[in-house]
Symmetry: D3
Subunit: 288 residues, 6 copies
């Protein structure tokens, strides 16, 4: 516990950051694994509510991968992969929808309420927030099923919830004009929502240190990536697996006008606050 | 297809109803079975969107029973009943939450979008809409688990969505002050939401003709129930099973200021429109 | 009287029309003869109030010819015509002003009140709505007197009445900057008001079937006239007499941005509703 | 023409009056005879526009007696009187409506426009401003016809016009719930409108010096009448003929909350300004 | 004391001026000497309050020279001049700040309150109204000290006070970005404030007749100066001493968009009213 | 400098305090001696700006005693005391007014600007904020001169400045209805302003530890005083000299509805933050 003078000192140290972030919209992506420990979720929720009290307008976008796999397993749904891509049939989509919206999203909402905020969980289906079409991979001749590519973002419902003082929590699902539902990548969705909302920042809380030039070497962490460097990274060996959509999401956001997109190491306690209110930002920042 | 003069005639016939309902809030409960046929859901959605275009502010509250049972079965969760009440353990609650919010609610949202409306699906957990406590039945000494009794309704989020032109779709879940989630009865929730919203009407779309004095005799349909008659019915033999919470929901609504609560036969095509825009209302109406 | 299912069916059939017309401004011209039978007027008023309840913002512009002639006759004022144009001296102008504003306009206002609306009758003189100058016909060397050519429309007073929920009813009189009053053609005035209000439609309720290629042959009705065809018609033999200003009014409206201008056969009961809410539109439509 | 210092002196002299009247609503009744000379009307209009520029919200209510009689005569309508009251049949009502709304009202509107204001002429029929019922005189067994007694005032339309910066000009006609029109006394109407608008003053511009204790003796002018004295005057010999409704109108206004009601000698040039901006108020003031 | 008809006459004479000035912002500079007699100040305050009641938004900027000199003398601060410019050291600045803001400004505020207005006295330091930098004269190599040159005007605080109905009273001090205070010339400040406020007029109340072509010859008064003539005057012999900044202030205002800048002879009683509400404007007007 | 995790820890520790203080108005009194060191003033300003960024609406009321005495001395004004009260003649009042408003107030304004805020310095004279009458002490028969007793607070100007985002800085001067100015006690003024503003707290930054039961014994600090205890203290030996008005100011505030009034030891660096955002509040708190 800090002493009174220390507290005063810290408040004054963060004052310039508070001034800088006031009235700005931040989109914060949190992955499924980052929420598995209830402690982590409570910490995250407290950070977000504090951000709101300091004048920021936070929008949370979440994943939920591990839990989806768990339920698929219990329901006896066999995962099928083609060229490394998961084939998402109707049944798999239902499980994703149920878990992401019905479980993960509401768990975050309740954590935010416990931390003193007022939150509303919704999905890209609601209010026409995310319009998608079926993702088609030229390189592969198998039907991937209900995986969507977001083609339009209608952020009106988010603007209104923020204006009314709510913390929106968004599950990455989408619908097309015919009423079909799609699973969409949460990292991509966060980037596109940030861009359409006119957010000042997109922060992606991951379970790695950031972007490593050499994935095996923690010392090769890249602090700042320009757009060009980020594009180069996408086709290099450095970015692979889950890192690919994370960098793509940052790229989309920054290309469409978001000032800065951050990959933040969510395993560090209160990484959000450290990133936003100290010079000791951890992870990788993508800038124009 | 109607002829042009017939269309004009009908529009003029419904004009007095339009005037009467304008600017009023109606809470409409729809059960899980009523939505099983996709045709039914599309019809229902069109009716609700039409209502909104005629100046009404509709709020949808839904159930989802059959599908919950289906998933429980597939997940190998054994249903346990004590004195006719379902014991809802943590796992059952998760399934209810997933199905109601993640599947049923979003299906209704998408149906409303297809019919031309803009909808947002949420649950009683969001925005603190429904605050519950653990339901305790004096008569039974078994712990029923996560079944909740709604003790507080905070309709702010609904008022704001309605003011912004959205159709709110509410799944009957709730949270307590400690962050525990509860399954709540949809009929009760609809009645209480109607009361707190200051709704003019609560309409419960069922799969029966209405309240029958003699459940075996369709001819014993009661068109109008006063509060006292409704209370008497609750302790009579006439109301039993699923009819009990439906009448209780109507009672709660009317006791707390809703002008009229209706049990409407949802199997009749476009029953909502017939109930609201013709003299030929079907079913049972509870009034003060 | 329609059955309940028929009513529901019709409401659903008109839903797409309701969606299309919502929040749009329609200027509706009604001629003096169309109002001579009190039945007609009551029907017309009900249609207009219904339109308002369905989300349309209607503005009524009216004529009043037959009654003006009646009062002139009783007052012993001799009609004088030059080249088919009525010479409007001061006395004639007074009669027109009295009849149109004092009698016809208020009769419409009261009919709208009886149908459930709230109406305000005014003239182009009020709020500077219609500014005119003396009409000068190059072709004729006789002073036509107080016949005006509208040179400016100030729709502020109409916008405000509509925003406050009133149905404006406009008599076709105007004033110039020096305070002289003028009688203006109601068909022209309706077209110009529609244009300046940014109306989506102008509907002219006439006592003919529409524009006939051959005025003697009802089968020669033209359903759609483009701007060029309408201009050609003005110099052809097809358009003559009262049809000329009607087509001119439609032309002015469409040239200045109104999407569609309609000549509607006002003798058909509830012609307005049929035109707006069915495919069986009667009469002639002028489009760009 | 005043010298520059005189102008400054006068402006400073009237400053306290300007402060006192700011933001207040004044109802100003002007009679038909007061407007017969165009000079008078122009002066009156200039005074009213000046009032508005000095922060007052003026509402004009007008009569139009002499011109109505002129047109009745020309139309060959025989006046009939019973016990001194004019029998107003349908035809007479039409003439009153036409002359008051169509001629007199619009003449005032145009005069106000020429003086630099923006005016809208309407009648008690419009916006449901004046609701009346058939006047029944116990003392007389003849049907007086379409003479109305105002039973309800709905000033919403006036509040809205004033808020939008318009000068409302009201003709004293009314309608009942069944849509019948009535002629109502302008002095009464002005008093009741003033009361319902929450006006601070009602000013009745007459063609006499004010209320004379002895109608034959100009020196018997009464400057101030309390409510009780006004009631006594009504049953005395002092008040008779046209003076009766004028005192009744003042009484109604003051009884219902208007601070002061004035009978002003409208023959004095710019009597309104003198009454409102100098100590030399002319005429009679009714106070609580 | 004027007679009632004279008062009416004058009000009507000034009506066109009232219409012209309504809703406009006027910046009024008053010098220290003009306020030395309490009578003058009271007159000035009454004029300003009257202006506000007539719909004008006045902003007062004041000097205070004589009193500053008096206090410097009493505090034993020796005035130092270099090339005719006063060297303003820290101590002199403190005296200027104290006298202008603490004494002169509050005296004006209280005079405005006594005249019936609501005033707020502030300085260019408050709300960042006037941002200055140290004035550097190329021609002189002595440090003039705390004399500032206004480089930025932030009129938000004035707009807000005016919108709330207050009369702002501004003392001519300024601050730079580092928090140093400066004395700035009141004539210049008034001109720049007028320009940034979008004022329609700047009126400088002086103690001379206006700009004289030959300073010794009162008959050489120039009524109108164009921008070019004003620039020429600045480098001529005609303008010298205190007249220089006054003409510069007018120039800056008019160059930056103020329609008219006036030098008014403040010794004439109620010169403001005479200038604004009569044709007999006294003094010199600078126009584009 | 704190480490990143420490910063996060502190932010989370203060979160409950931030939630508690949001949207509340705090009146903060700062004495003249507390501002003598420029360091102190800069610290104070930073604290106030931080408060505003954390959602608090701060109003500063200041004294300025030492500097007033300094200028009086330099101007050769002899201090006169009667029964321990300073006799404030016209000249002394002028010095107080000049120093408080012109120097001290603007120094605070500039310090707040340097810390990143937007401030406006005004006095109780401005906007009629503080209305006073001449203070009369029954016990003493000498005229104390221009010392005022505040009889009315009109906080409108403060509400408006706060709503517009400004930090108001108030010098303790007042005026009476006749336009006379008065010096008023800053401690009293702060208490009365807090009460009329509906402030949640009044904080008086002093140069002592708080209220000591035995003024000689620092260990006798009283942490909490109820209203009754505070009243008792006023007539005891414990409170004397400058402590008397400080306790009176707290008393007035709490009696009129302010929840808590604090005497804070302003010599502790960032005492404001420590008082408001930690449990280690220093000094004495007066509560109901």
């Amino acid at each position: 516990m800090a002493s009174a003078p220390q507290i005063a000192e810290v408040l004054l140290e963060v004052l310039p950051y508070i001034e800088r972030h006031r009235e700005q919209t931040f989109v914060i992506k949190i992955g499924g694994s980052a929420m598995s420990k209830s402690d982590c979720l409570a910490n995250f929720a407290t950070d977000v509510v504090l951000l709101q009290h300091l004048g920021v307008k936070p929008v949370v976008v979440h994943g939920g991968g591990p839990e989806i796999s768990g339920y698929m397993d219990r329901l006896g749904i066999e995962p099928r992969f083609v060229d490394g891509l998961r084939v998402t049939d109707e049944e798999t989509l239902c499980v994703a929808q149920m878990v992401l919206i019905g479980l993960t999203g509401k768990r975050i909402v309740t954590a935010l309420h416990q931390a003193g905020g007022r939150a509303v969980g919704l999905s890209g289906i609601d209010g026409g927030l995310l319009v998608a079409e079926k993702l088609r991979k030229d390189s592969c001749d198998v039907d991937l099923g209900c995986v969507g590519d977001v083609t339009e973002v209608n952020p009106a419902v988010l603007h209104q919830l923020l204006a009314d003082g709510y913390l929106p929590v968004v599950a990455p699902l989408a619908a097309d004009r015919e009423g079909n539902h799609y699973n969409v990548n949460a990292d991509h969705a966060a980037g596109q929502i940030a861009a359409e909302l006119g957010a000042a920042k997109m922060l992606n809380l991951t379970d790695v240190k950031g972007f490593l030039r050499d994935p095996q070497d923690p010392a090769s962490l890249v602090s700042v990536l320009t757009l060009d460097e980020a594009k180069a990274a996408l086709v290099s060996d450095s970015a692979s697996g889950g890192m690919l959509p994370k960098i793509e999401g940052c790229l989309r956001a920054v290309e469409m006008g978001v000032e800065r997109a951050h990959l933040v190491d969510g395993r560090v306690p209160h990484a959000l606050l450290i990133e936003l209110f100290t010079d000791g930002g951890c992870g990788t920042m993508v800038v124009r």
